[in-house]
């Protein structure tokens, strides 16, 4: 039951790159992926910048072999999951008990939007192939099939904390001796549904977002996917390159304050972070870097910041929100940021919190504005907080 869960591989696609090395290069060189909206066909095109993956569905098809007619979410998911599996280099994959635990927030909504445009005119119209993968679970199954997963598939959807929950559910499947290998994370593509939804909440930034800045105005939406390959100790011992990172802590807590707003003192965030620390047996001062949830909204950043103050005061680790690079990728964010957290340990680096100008007046700390390297990063805390009060934190550690 107390078995260590190793990270054998990672994979990512986001607006700053189509794989690990491209994303890393952008992170190291402060290159944001947020731009003028290009692919999403929305009337708000000129109003809200977004962070779109720099490939159209046809290019994603040639990269993955999955039809470009399928949901973009499945295409993005497959790119990152394949990279993670390839990087893990598990030779006897087919003989192991394998699972795919994926997260997303709106399933195949990008295609459903096409369907419903016709359907609402006449309910006998609209091509069914565009709505057949509407369900979140369909996206997971399309990808699981391509990956050759045979033993277990499931999908988690807890808004913006979805893929953090997927990752630690995957870890628990290994701990409970149900599976040997789990590919876990999440994916989301940009849709008009979510863009308009966030617009009604008036939390979209018309400029490039500035997480944890006193003058922050809101978030920019993004898209992408991020996965980790988690393996048991038994599998880790068979790998050519032995993994040196483990998932050492995790916690899921609920803010129970409001359906969409965080409590001002970030109680849920505090419980998630402190719970993850407890699980890992680490103290706050052991954490070298926090990959913040840091959406750039007034509400999130003050809630998260207050919780960090309560937990870490007076010594603060380095911290930054990489959403200033990737936008808020919703159901994918926990997966993408888990990958970035792992890379921070592997590379000994801390990412800059881009566009940070003014420290928040309520907080005694400032996230890291610059790219830092040659550090010894041993423990990274990754935060994912979502609507519905769903707060989850993960801790990755060097072995």
């Amino acid at each position: 039951m107390s078995e260590t869960i190793f990270v054998a591989g990672t994979g990512v696609i986001s607006a700053i790159g189509n794989n690990i090395s491209e994303c890393l290069d952008a992170l190291k060189n402060s290159r944001t992926g947020i731009k003028h909206m290009q692919r999403l066909d929305s009337v708000h095109k000129n109003k809200f910048p977004v962070a779109e993956v720099n490939l159209d569905n046809e290019s994603l098809e040639s990269l993955t072999g999955l039809s470009s007619l399928k949901s973009r979410t499945a295409l993005l998911s497959l790119v990152a999951a394949k990279e993670a599996l390839y990087n893990a280099g598990i030779e006897n994959f087919d003989n192991l008990r394998t699972g795919f635990v994926s997260a997303n927030s709106v399933g195949g909504m990008d295609k459903s939007e096409f369907f419903f445009t016709e359907y609402f005119k006449n309910n006998q119209k609209g091509r069914l192939c565009n709505v057949v993968n509407h369900e979140c679970g369909s996206i997971t199954e399309l990808v699981a099939y391509q990956l050759g997963i045979k033993d277990y598939v499931t999908t988690i959807s807890t808004a913006c904390s979805s893929s953090a929950n997927a990752i630690f559910f995957g870890a628990r499947l290994i701990k409970n001796n149900i599976l040997d290998v789990v590919i876990a994370g999440g994916a989301d593509s940009l849709t008009k549904f979510t863009l308009n939804g966030f617009n009604t909440l008036m939390i979209l930034d018309e400029q490039f977002c500035q997480p944890f800045d006193e003058n922050r105005r809101g978030l920019n939406l993004g898209e992408g996917a991020g996965y980790v390959v988690l393996v048991s100790e038994k599998v880790a011992n068979t790998l050519n390159k032995s993994p040196f990172i483990k998932l050492s802590g995790y916690c899921n807590a609920n803010d129970a304050y409001h359906q969409t707003a965080s409590s001002p003192d970030g109680n849920g965030s505090f419980l998630a972070m402190s719970g993850a620390l407890k699980k890992s047996g680490l103290k706050p001062e052991d954490i070298n870097y926090i990959n913040l949830h840091g959406t750039g909204t007034q509400n999130n950043d003050i809630a998260e910041g207050s919780a960090i103050k309560r937990l870490f005061s007076p010594i603060y680790p380095k911290m930054s929100s990489t959403k200033a690079f990737t936008g808020h990728t919703l159901g994918a964010s926990g997966g993408i940021e888990a990958v970035f957290s792992i890379l921070a340990i592997q590379e000994g680096i801390v990412y800059p919190n881009l566009r940070l100008q003014t420290q928040m007046k309520e907080l005694p700390f400032l996230p890291e504005p610059n790219f830092l390297q040659n550090l010894n990063i041993k423990h990274v805390l990754s935060n994912s907080f979502g609507f519905g009060g769903n707060c989850s934190s993960l801790i990755f550690s060097k072995i």
Binding site: F116, L128, G137, T155, S157, A253, Q259, G389
Partner: protein, 354 residues
Amino acid sequence: MYIRATGNISPQHTYGHPLFLPELVEYVDNRLSCIEPDYKGIIDAKQIRRMSRIIRMGVASALECLQEAGIDMPDAIITGTSYGCLEDTGIFLSRMIEYNEELLTPTSFIQSTHNTIGAQIGLLLQCNNYNNVFVHSGFSFESALLDGIMLLREKEASNVLIGAIDEITNISHSILNRMGLYKQNRISNKEIFKNKSKGSIAGEGATFFLLSNESSNTDYAKLIGLRTFYKPQKVEDIKKEILIFLEENTITLKEIDLIIIGKNGDEKLDRVYDCLQSEIFSQNVIINYKNLCGEYPTATAFALWLAVNIIKFGKIPKAIDYNGVSTSKIKNILIYNNYLNKHHSLLLLSECKN
């Protein structure tokens, strides 16, 4: 694991009903709708107005379950829903398309997310504990159940609230109808297993359970095992999975007093069950349940509710069309369900030995 309490809003008289399904509520339609309680007195009037139908059903069912268990604050709230909050998703989508992305209001968007029901329960209880949501078609409820079982095993929780919620809306019904999931002829739910035809009847439900790793004196039943398997190629593979499951739980088919199967009246999909019935299940007492609740991805939750109540009441209810002779006491129940022959699940329950 002990099942201490249940809550169930379904197309039958299951909510707040002291009698155990004394008669089958008949539907001569391919759509079975939940019989909803009067929510006044269950949920605060101001909150009821804001909640959509699926949220009301989910919250009321969860509250009934907790009340029966005598637990104010569960250690975890885990929900499973395949389709999520369809009504609000439909409202937001239709307005977005009709008004060309302008003049939209946030309420339906906020309530469209799949975690809305779990979150509302957490909010109502002021429960800061573990809260998770599974959204994987015919595995949504089974995944939630597995999550809960693991939390209890890990000693991260001593009691967990687990539920499944899915609704039919006019939009989803018309689309799934076009996909050929439902019967095109008008037929009573009493007749679906007698007159076979293409398609099933649409169902929905909000069903909750309180699972605990410690026994109380009022538990319904013990949950012994859960196994899921995905897209088996042949009936032989299904048989194999069933036998592995029984072996894992050190029980034989002979010791199973009752099997609840997920036939849904679709002539093609039911063949799998027919095969099992004429082969490995041939010596067992078997009952169907989808004529009561209809077919939907989280229908196994209704089957589990039925099973634990059969153990609790010690009888098969009158609403179930059952030809077998009532034999000895029902101690062990096996549930075998598949959703569209893709998502297969097995559940094993036993009576609590006090």
